[in-house]
Symmetry: D2
Subunit: 341 residues, 4 copies
């Protein structure tokens, strides 16, 4: 078989391990050939291809990024659409497509599957917000980087008796904040799923401070304070109509300082959480997912994505994977919150 | 309640996070008090205690080792036994005991439970060889350290066109070898569960070499070559009756070199795999297990240990956890082996 | 002798190694006793002391922060002054004082020396901006953290064909930017010492992009664009009179994107650069400086600080160390700039 | 000019940064062209070349190993010799040669210079044993890896009340042992330059143990005990005439245990010390040395090598650099030894 492959959406550590796992399995165990599409759906729509043989995947599993490039292009916009995609697949003699991406990519893949395109998916989200899989690759690396950063912040907090605020990724869900916060021993974890008032945050901070600790607050980028604590007008544009710089971490730090009188500093970890060498956990997971994507192709499991359940890799229909954002359940938040303050 | 706590057996990254998770939950959510026993069962038998309050567990989840100390003492030997343990528990006014340890510890805990002692267990094995839990804490850290070491070895192998052999932990099972080998892109993984001949190893090594790669061989310390490839007489004592220095890694390297003609060097990672700062994954897992051990105590789930299943922490009877070494299943080995050579 | 010790100013990895080096040398080689002052000059002025024996410094050289605490208090303000300091030293029976701190601390120490107080200094500045020493501890750790972060940013830049901007520490000098930028292979390094126009930055960025690279721009926090490229009014307060959030990194990224059309993202590394485990280099340097501070005390080298010259530790009069900010010399910048674009 | 380049001798982190620094400077600042020789002098003698343009050095400064390959071939043996080297240089139209290597490489380079070949050298030794330069690249990385490994060993030592022995590189000199031991807070550092008896080692170990510490002993691979403590017959071959496996670390551990009664475990760090991503320090140093090698070529400084003095890069005649092994001076050892026991 000839198989097309693309990576789409935001960068995630482990993408290259998926690609390598699939290509090695496909070419050495089976006799498949591969064609890479450059920069996600964009390359597919524009028929912009890259060679993808055993040679290209040599030693890449420990590299961050993706050798195929990625973008946030929607395959149904512009020149795209089912006909164009069928055309490009035909031109390249492709029997199947492996799409590696997040919610948006998988939704597009489902729509293409419904139109008869033979696609298998590999879920990718650093945020770990896909419901059909226990974990997604990239998440463990992100949590590890965030935790190490917080370990560093704490020593400075201790030296200065300061409250340190760390803003981590998580626009819609708080998984990275929950895990890194628990790993680093945070005194407050603020996530989009949980409404938390500034009073409550201040209480946790004060309580830790009163016990002689330098308080550590972890906040997911998607967390918002109640309107009473931070009016919406303060969040968006500045008085010149320019987008205000600085995220929730930088905005909440002075509010905590004001409320508690404790000197407070914010750090926004940003893009360092999603780049660089993947953790061993993510390399193993991503390699197995890549290998399993070939099984799915071999078994003609079109319209399914590979997923981790416990310690096993399974094939799951796209429909099951979509539409349900995997949020942090109340029980997991409550568990973590027992250690706050 | 007053709860005794001990850590027993080999060191594992995450022990302190378990202790902290249990003590924080027990003292701040509930009103339990804790008594630590020094150096495992030894401290219990000898009534050698350590204070164990919120103060002692401050900031320890990122520290390797165990603040309680550990040893391999058997609680039924010497002065030990059920009566002595009941006596010490009574002297300390203890209502329950939390024992953190591996197969041996849990077997002893089961025997004590059967004799009426109120015990809850927390499984600990860097080797990940306990059947009743998806993963044990310490394993992820060990795999991460081994993988990073192999990443380093590879660049030297590449520079010199050498075969590099890395010996990792795993006396009875090959989990660390399997995961670190897969993460590092090894060309051969040798584990106790799989009989592999020197011919086969040489073939994998040669095949990688012929493709221009510097072959990487990962071998678990408990792997043995067939008698024909390395007579037993060469493994144990030297001609002076002294134990021979060097493990399987150092022994197999010259055999590979002899067979293939490719310069081969061995590195034994040894104790660095089980010490130091735990990974974020292990800190979260260990913290959750420690917290769950308090739930088990609260629910009087004597004779059970806490365990990870998927993403949930559950309580499992000791009997279920014991006697079945969790070996690497054939399917997982075959999966990894697809990428060899 | 009885020796007082304090750490003052911003946190720097290695402070604890200095303290340990001094206390171990003082107590085990000689028969000195130590008194720690809490939170820098504040503790000295307020006679707020901490015990400081061999026990307290056990295993601390690998810990970030300072066990003595630190603050930016000026010893001549408020209740402070020479008389008060002499009084507190007398009350504690002190024969000498070791002050560990930056430019401000050493200036205060010089003033006290001139007034007859027996002081030895240990220079501390993560920014490496002290003229009398080849390197200061903390700098190597900061450069290492920044470099590792940039390694991560680059993979994301590559995956997305983006320009990545990394803002690093360096209010007045560009040493951290210079070294981390050179280590990470940056395509532009912007430092306070060098006036660089937006046109020039855009040219470097475009040149790297045109060669298929994802441009990496490293900017020291103290860098400013010429007035024409970013009017001063845009830098300071927003229209509500609140300090604008976001530093030069966040401000320059949209300007680069606007000028080149290349998608550009900024990350501000912030406090993670100055906390956490010090590098081995910094631990060795800090330990040696701490030990040498005791030699200086023994030799009654009052009014001198310890410093690194080549591979040797020397004693340098405060006067020599002060007043001259060690900026990045033109030759070093030119050397780095050869690799830009 | 056309410049040949080769890397020779053992792997060292930073080799690729040297190559990149030289090639980028040579091709973008000047108009030089480069030819790489494969596997050191071997490639030169056999005229086995690799292309070496800006393209080949893209992003390599953070990679361990050397893209040119290396070997320990002597250019004067076999087909080699001055005539052959002149012949190959002529065939490739070369005006100069840059040789990156250790003592042996530089000695060969000197001999070639004396015979009229136009050579510039870049010193390389992980062991830091070259007299004419303050530090060599690779050393800082090795010390960092060894220190991190010891940090890990210590937690296991503490948990088990064990003495841990770490064997580090250093066949002839103890620089890595000295620096990593000081950074890790070792209780004994054993180096080739210093005769130390087993009694002395045991005393240091016992003293640390008696103070409640888990003793850490760092030993350079080239250290030997006095004949009385370990007869030479025990060091070399076993009774079958095979080389005995295991180095000084594995041999001294049971001797320490026997002498003190303290359980003792050895770890040999081995090849992980010389591979993998170079530290930021080494990348900067190596990049600067590579750049400076082009200045030396431009200035026709044949027969000189580039070297670090303080913070400056200088050109030093080969003769000055050779013949004098840079050993650990007594003063530096004594300084470190003040913290033992």
């Amino acid at each position: 078989m000839r198989i097309g492959m693309l990576t789409s959406g935001g960068d995630a550590p482990g993408l290259n391990a998926v690609i390598r796992g699939a290509v090695l399995t496909g070419t050495t165990v089976h006799t498949h050939e591969f064609v890479g599409f450059k920069d996600g759906w964009k390359g597919l729509v524009e028929n912009d291809t890259l060679p993808l043989s055993r040679h290209e995947v040599k030693g890449i599993s420990k590299q961050g990024g993706t050798i195929l490039g990625t973008s946030r292009t929607n395959p149904f916009e512009g020149r795209g659409g089912v006909d164009r995609i069928n055309e490009v697949m035909a031109e390249n003699g492709l029997d199947a497509l492996i799409a590696i991406g997040g919610e948006g990519t998988l939704a597009a893949a489902k729509r293409l599957t419904d139109a008869g395109v033979k696609i298998v998916g590999v879920p990718k989200t650093v945020d770990n917000d896909l419901d059909a899989t226990d974990y997604t690759f990239g998440f463990d690396t992100a949590v590890g980087i965030a935790t190490e950063a917080m370990d560093r912040l704490r020593t400075t907090g201790d030296a200065h008796n300061r409250c340190m605020v760390a803003e981590v990724m998580g626009r819609h869900v708080g998984w990275i904040a929950l895990h890194s916060g628990m790993a680093a021993g945070a005194h407050a974890i603020l996530i989009p799923e949980q409404k938390t008032t500034l009073d409550q945050v201040a209480e946790w901070v004060q309580s830790a401070y009163d016990r002689g600790r330098a308080p550590l607050v972890v906040v997911a980028e998607g967390f918002t304070l109640p309107e009473d604590d931070e009016p919406h007008s303060e969040r968006g544009l500045d008085a010149f109509g320019r987008p205000r710089l600085g995220g929730i971490g930088e905005r909440i730090a002075p509010l905590i300082e004001e409320r508690t009188g404790i000197e407070t500093r914010a750090t926004t970890l940003g893009h360092i959480q999603r780049g660089g060498t993947p953790s061993a956990f993510d390399r193993v997971l991503a390699t197995r997912l890549g290998m399993a994507s070939i099984s799915a192709v071999n078994e003609q499991h079109w319209g399914r994505m590979v997923a981790l359940r416990g310690t096993e890799i399974v094939h799951v229909p796209f429909a099951e994977a979509l539409g349900k954002l995997k949020t942090v359940p109340q029980s997991r938040y409550d568990e973590a919150a027992l250690l706050f303050g």
